[in-house]
Amino acid sequence: AAESVITWMYVEAQPNVIDVWRGIAEQFEKDHPGVKIEMKFLENQAFKAKIPTLLQSSEAPSMFYTWGGGVLKAQAQTGMLRDVTGALDADGGAWRNTINAAAVDALTFDDNVWAAPFRTGVVAFYYNKELFQKAGVDASTIKTWGNFTDAVKKLKAAGITPIAGGGGDKWPLHFYWSYLAMRQAGHQGFVDAKAGKGDGFASEPFVKAGEYLAELGKLEPFQNGYLGATWNDALAAFGDGRAAIILSFENTPGTQAVNSTSGKGLPVENIGRFPFPALDGAPGVVTDNFGGINGWTITKNAPPETEEFLKYFSSPDVQRKLARDAKILPVAKGASDAVSDPLLKVAAEAIANETWHQNFLDQDLGPNVGAVVNDMSVAIVSGQQSPADAAQQIQDAFSLENP
């Protein structure tokens, strides 16, 4: 019989997670004879570089990882994707109803859903309890940016590298600028900027956010050589206990261990979490979350079983399994109860109670503006650009793309 082959392209590098996925895929294959799922790994950078060209070739995968946002929008506009709206709404919305609305919304443009939601994420500070204790810092007291910089100073004074940063990859540092901008501009500020109102991203709150970031940079809080360090290097620095704080994804407890020199990393008990603090006198609140909403995009020529598989993949049972074994924050309604890991639980709660969820800016604003945001974040931290210039450059790039 003619086999349908679903090619599945992903960037996930944690072997245990991939094992879980493979298990799910094998189960699906068993349930659907004649369907074969081929898993293809592509390294993150290569993946981002390749997808546009891949999409237009006969080699396009059936489904691939997406961060949503402008990138997904551009891809959708090529007509190379197959939207999943129909599948979601079939049988009276049988699939759509099982999923958090926020996740679906994040993957929707022009009233079409362009990817099947898979997981959400939230970026927050993780810290090394032992080192905090050594420096005499109490994490629970960090409520404002001022508290945070004080903590950094204290850590530094105690001879501890305060923060692990991955400036070589750039995007890890854009977390700082993004969060600061969210806190300073607030949800409305972002909406206005995106709508091109006023000076857009060059307007005052964004410059102000940059100034906070520049101040942080001046404290030299990052580990030695952070500008050349990759994200993995940063995780390793945190996991080895060489730096006390990392602004990172919800899966940090796992990834820091994998990347650490010993391969074991910090014991989970030794890791704490606190949300990105608020800024005095600014509209942003601590419950405004920054983090990914990931899904799987289906390409035009994918076999019809692909939707079937993705529906299965986001079904509550599978999502629970993923939450438990792969330590993700699930998108299926009610699946978060399977989150057992205490730190992940906190993250899941944060999502449950969030007031606004902002997708990663380097995805949300499209690959080009996003790259500029990354560049500028690094430039501000390292003192290369004044916050005002940086904001202007982001705005320039943005207005070029969105005339």
């Binding site: 546009p52 237009q56 506009q77 400036g167 070589g168 030695n224 050349g228 560049d375 390292s382």
Partner: protein, 315 residues
């Protein structure tokens, strides 16, 4: 500076055209030449045109569009991409870096190569072995060399760290520091390519009539005088060739930068080609990237031709 640049040796010959020699070819056989031309030329011609010349022309065309590579280019933007490129501080940095690489090649690498070449063409035991060792980095892939030096420079695990710890100070992160990264890369460039230039010089030295050097001995030249007044002038064409390679090669530098810094930290080590890759290819800004390609092309061709005109006239 990939191997393809070797060809430039032939650059001097390029304009030479038909010499008297070919004039001798008999014309009475004119009839029989067409079958050969018709069979022998087209494969090369076709491949070259389709995969080299046309894409180059298309690059020029795309450079006037804002295009992300999906579908067909439709959004004509005139010279805007060029303006953006030339205003981009990272591009300016890339130009400066390319200049720096050229400078170091000329001021450091070529003299070093020449110095070593004169040493390994003397009559000492092991000269051939040293030649091989010095040439070794050149045959390694750029990517591998970049990776090896990334390790050497690594502040945690690398040799730089080892040395620093040995002397008891904190390991520097040479590649992560804007102020040092480019110099670190320059060192790798020299490390990687001096052997190639040395080989050129060895070939050049061997082509010098030995009896001319003996004549200088007889004329009473000391070792240094012999080098400065006889060897060096006679190496003229080799030096010019070597300079040409260094210049063209440095403009092409890409493979090695990627594993080392990828152009970072904060664009401190971009070259024109890494800039093209980072800002054009990975961001799918086809128009913008093509504009960079066209600028690079113009720089290469201008340099090549003016260099040829000025320095290689006599070769």
């Amino acid at each position: 500076m990939n191997t393809t640049s070797i060809l430039a040796k032939s650059l001097p010959a390029s304009g030479a055209g038909i010499t008297g020699r070919t004039n001798r070819r008999r014309r009475s056989f004119a009839k029989s030449k067409w079958p050969v031309l018709v069979l022998f030329l087209p494969p090369a011609l076709l491949l070259f045109t389709v995969l080299v010349i046309l894409p180059m022309g298309e690059a020029a065309w795309y450079s006037f569009y804002n295009w992300n590579g999906y579908g067909l280019p439709t959004q004509w933007v005139g010279w805007r991409n060029y303006q953006l490129v030339l205003r981009n501080s990272a591009f300016i940095q890339a130009l400066i870096n390319n200049g720096l690489i050229i400078l170091v090649s000329l001021a450091l690498q070529i003299p070093l190569a020449l110095w070593l070449a004169t040493m390994v063409t003397t009559r000492i035991r092991g000269a051939l072995f040293f030649r091989l060792i010095f040439f070794l980095p050149y045959v390694l892939a750029d990517v591998a060399a970049g990776m090896i030096w990334r390790f050497v420079y690594d502040g945690d695990f690398g040799l730089a760290a080892g040395i620093a710890h040995f002397f008891g100070f904190e390991a520097p992160f040479l590649l992560a520091d804007r102020d040092t990264a480019m110099y670190a890369i320059l060192a790798v460039v020299v490390w990687k390519y001096f052997g190639f230039h040395m080989m050129l010089f060895i070939a050049g030295l061997q082509a010098i009539d030995k009896s001319v050097l003996e004549a200088a001995d007889i004329d009473g030249a000391s070792g240094w005088q012999k080098f400065r007044l006889v060897t060096l002038p006679l190496l003229g064409s080799t030096v010019r060739l070597s300079v040409f390679f260094a210049v063209v090669g440095s403009l092409h530098l890409f493979d090695m930068i990627m594993p080392l810094t990828g152009g970072g930290p904060s664009n401190a080590t971009q070259t024109i080609v890494t800039f093209l890759y980072n800002f054009g290819v990975t961001r799918m800004q086809i128009g913008f990237g093509s504009a960079v390609g066209v600028i690079l092309f113009v720089i290469c061709v201008t340099l090549a031709f003016s260099y040829k005109r000025i320095f290689m006239r006599h070769d």
